[in-house]
């Protein structure tokens, strides 16, 4: 009887295996060093059994000529090798892999820590660094230590203003930032079936912030329906009885809006405890909360009013941007005073546009609040989309339940 990670990797927890990677992706950040390493390895063509992707999302568009030159070389490489290439404006790599690309049961490796995100589809998806990716470009395979798994048993349904983000911050708070290091999280129980794909992606995404190697959902009817709409016929994965290293139980009905206090993602407090903290910026977007449902929720909450603080909204992908244009969500955001960015990572990683100044405070829907991450001397509080909306309208941290 196996965990989902054991089933997909085909070996028992603790074993070391070499496996072909079904899909491998990298972005404009990690791609640069990966290309250097691949050339040094003697690389001249890509592995035959793997689908390769390169997505420009970290500094999109380029902020200066150094970045532009590095991106130019990478773009040439992508065209030369015929890998799937998504240029600036297409969106965040993890989101693009989640729009009908990654399928249940696959082994997926991304050169980015949040490559755990497509685990929401019942794939074994994990992150590596640039040189590991270069090795996968060369050979199509890599080594894995099959992880032990932590069972995250979900019951009930989210209620009130609580979102998947609050649920994610709840489990990161319980586990701590290294509570699942070298391990995989498996989100199971009837509560998991009540979550949409967008919500599952949030939970899988944050598994990285507990140190996990992967964060998996079993593919179910919700997964099958989502992938069918994108042209894929897949079967649900039926969980077997299996042994977890440890288990945590969460009743979704107990989840309340939370904020992660800088500089740690596991310093989690009810929004009410921080209520009234003055803000300089609100940021809505990223591989955590930049999906259409997030933008639509934010727009619904601010529609017809004006944000009281500078608010940057960055759709996670072109598909999301286009849908937000079609449905009028984008117009509502702009009317409410929000500023829009190109689909991509936006200011999350502090490389370019939207960074914070000394002493500035941001409420962000992203997944990291490390010291100086979004700019030297800036502080990042992490919260849900509804918390971001209530806070943007008030200009200070505000509970969405109070608003």
């Amino acid at each position: 009887m196996s965990t989902l990670s054991e089933r997909i990797l085909g070996a028992a927890a603790g074993e070391y295996v070499d496996r072909n990677v079904d899909r491998a992706y990298a972005h404009d950040g990690t791609g640069v060093l990966a290309l250097e390493a691949w050339k040094k390895m003697g690389g001249d063509r890509l592995g035959k059994e793997t689908e390769y992707y390169l997505q420009f999302d970290h500094i999109a568009p380029a902020n200066n000529s150094t970045t532009a030159t590095l991106q130019h070389e990478l773009r040439d490489f992508a065209h030369r090798t015929s890998m799937h290439f998504s240029d600036i404006g297409c969106g965040i790599c993890h989101q693009l892999m989640s729009e009908g690309v990654v399928l249940p049961g696959e082994i997926v490796v991304g050169a980015d820590s949040h490559s755990v995100t497509p685990g929401a589809f019942g794939a074994f998806a994990t992150g590596v660094g640039a040189t590991d990716m270069a090795g996968i470009w060369l050979t199509g395979e890599t080594w894995f230590r099959v992880p032990e798994s932590v069972g995250v048993n979900l019951t009930g349904k989210l209620s009130g203003a609580a979102e998947a983000k609050d649920l994610a911050l709840t489990y990161v708070g319980k586990l701590g930032v290294d509570g699942a290091t070298y391990q995989a999280l498996e989100f199971v129980g009837e509560g998991a079936h009540h979550l949409s794909i967008d919500e599952r992606l949030v939970l899988s995404n944050l598994s990285m912030e507990a140190g996990a190697k992967a964060g998996l959902f079993y593919a179910d009817d919700v997964t099958v329906r989502y992938l069918k709409e994108r042209g894929h016929a897949v079967l649900p994965q039926v969980p077997e009885a299996c042994s977890y290293l440890s288990e945590i139980d969460i009743d979704l009905a107990d989840i309340v809006p939370l904020v992660a206090v800088p500089p740690r993602v596991d310093t989690v407090k009810p929004v009410d405890d921080l209520a009234g903290l003055s803000l300089d910026q609100v940021f809505v977007g990223t591989c955590t909360n930049g999906r259409y449902s997030d933008l639509a929720r934010f727009a619904r909450l601010v529609k017809g009013r004006k944000v009281a603080v500078r608010t940057i909204v960055v759709p996670a992908s072109e598909e999301i941007l286009k849908k937000a244009i079609r449905t009028g969500v984008l117009a509502d955001l702009v009317e409410a005073g929000c500023t829009l960015g190109t689909p991509g990572c936006g200011p999350c990683l502090g490389y370019h546009m939207g960074v914070l100044g000394e002493g500035e405070v941001c409420l962000s829907t992203a997944n990291r609040n490390f010291k100086n991450r979004m700019g030297v001397g800036g502080e990042i509080y992490l919260g849900s989309v509804a918390t971001a909306a209530a806070s943007a309208l008030a200009g200070e941290i505000t509970s969405p339940e109070a608003a």
Partner: protein, 156 residues
């Protein structure tokens, strides 16, 4: 693989943003990473990394997958990093770049001499030898080769 250096003590949960900040990543000039390593934690630290064995708390290297973090430590002259646990991507990155990592609960004394032998599985400081958790055979092979680039040059 053997090594020796001077202990530099660091706390738990050192993230890769703190090792090398995002604002310095877009370059090919590796000396920039060596110069600015740990800048946001302690601006004097970079100068003390030459010949240093970093002895840190658990979960060293958490956060972003940026390989520049491991490169910066090596370029600044770091010999090895010892910690009770490492974030897994940093773990792979460091070994892939030939920077030895040692899983051990060693208590750090700033400035003391720390010696290690990864093949034999020990680390020694202040006259006491401690056993270490061994690297997997594959990670040892990659490390002995000098990194993953050198490993695949031979094995592919």
């Amino acid at each position: 693989m053997q090594g020796k250096g001077t202990a530099v003590c660091l706390p738990a949960d050192i993230d890769t943003d703190v090792i090398i900040a995002g604002r310095y990543l877009r370059t090919r000039d590796r000396s920039i990473w060596a110069t600015h390593v740990f800048e946001d934690l302690d601006p004097t630290l970079a100068a003390r990394l030459k010949g240093a064995v970093i002895v840190a708390g658990r979960n060293f290297g958490c956060g972003s997958s940026r390989e520049q973090a491991a490169i910066a430590l090596r370029e600044a002259g770091g010999v090895a990093v010892i910690a009770p646990s490492f974030a897994r991507i940093f773990f792979r990155n460091a070994i892939n770049l030939g920077l030895p990592l040692i899983e051990s609960d060693l208590t750090c004394k700033e400035g003391s001499t720390v010696a290690f032998d990864i093949s034999e599985g020990w680390v020694e400081t202040e006259g006491t030898q401690h056993t270490i958790r061994p690297l997997s055979p594959r990670m040892q092979e990659i490390l002995m080769a000098g990194g993953l680039v050198e490993y695949w040059r031979v094995h592919w």
